[in-house]
């Protein structure tokens, strides 16, 4: 039971990798909090959006085995 986490921009830089395979977490919020501690992310979860399997989802969405999770820091295109 695992999930893939994708990192972008400053989160990728802080994590030092662009993806990780991790055990299925209890929730998106629990996963982000654990990763923040491990990688020293400075952005609070309240500033981020989150996507699962290529679509934006609410933070309380359920997770399933094998899903792909991306934490989306504030964007700066354009």
């Amino acid at each position: 039971m695992s999930v893939t986490v994708l990192y972008f921009a400053s989160l990728r830089e802080a994590a030092g990798v662009d993806r990780e395979l991790l055990p299925l977490p209890a929730s998106l919020r629990a996963l982000y909090d654990a990763l923040s501690l491990r990688h020293g992310f400075s952005l609070p979860a309240t500033k981020l959006r989150v996507a699962v399997d290529g679509a934006f989802v609410p933070w309380d969405s359920p997770l399933s085995d094998g899903c792909e999770i991306a934490f989306i820091p504030p964007v700066s295109g354009g």
């Binding site: 994708l6 972008f8 921009a9 400053s10 990728r12 830089e13 952005l43 500033k47 996507a51 290529g54 679509a55 934006f56 991306a70 989306i72 820091p73 504030p74 964007v75 700066s76 295109g77 354009g78």
Partner: protein, 139 residues
């Protein structure tokens, strides 16, 4: 053409504009964002755009589709560059055709505003002095 695309290479505007032309449309508004030599008072030497490409294309296409519903326009398209960009390079292009100029301008402005606020693309700026930075502006 009613499409949003990410381009990892420099792209030409002319063929994109061409696809928005039509005898039914009398008005065309476009926007281009270029890499400036400064940002918020700092001298910029170059920048890099990273995207979550799959989600950026889905979200960008949703913006185009919503623009076609909200405004009386004929066609709309947007292309955003990613990768390494030099000063003066084209970062983003939006084109909108419509029967009349009001909706063409309004939709063009709306699309670029939405792209800047919703599409997962991030800018990494390198400065003349100081460490390069990922830009994560407060919404």
């Amino acid at each position: 053409m009613n499409r949003f695309a990410i381009s990892e290479e420099p792209f030409l505007i002319a063929p994109l504009r061409e696809q928005l032309l039509g005898h039914d449309a009398g008005a065309y508004a476009s926007f281009e964002g270029w890499v400036r030599d400064h940002n918020e008072g700092r001298a910029v030497q170059g920048l890099f755009y990273e995207s979550y490409r799959a989600l950026a294309e889905t979200e960008g296409q949703a913006i185009i589709d919503q623009a076609l519903e909200r405004f009386a326009i004929t066609r709309a398209a947007c292309v955003h560059r990613t990768g390494e960009l030099a000063l003066g390079e084209l970062a983003v292009w939006v084109g909108v055709s419509a029967g009349h100029r009001g909706p063409a301008f309004e939709a063009c402005r709306w699309i670029i505003d939405e792209v800047k606020s919703r599409v997962p693309i991030w800018k990494h700026e390198r400065y003349a002095t100081g460490a390069p930075t990922w830009l994560h502006p407060d919404p």
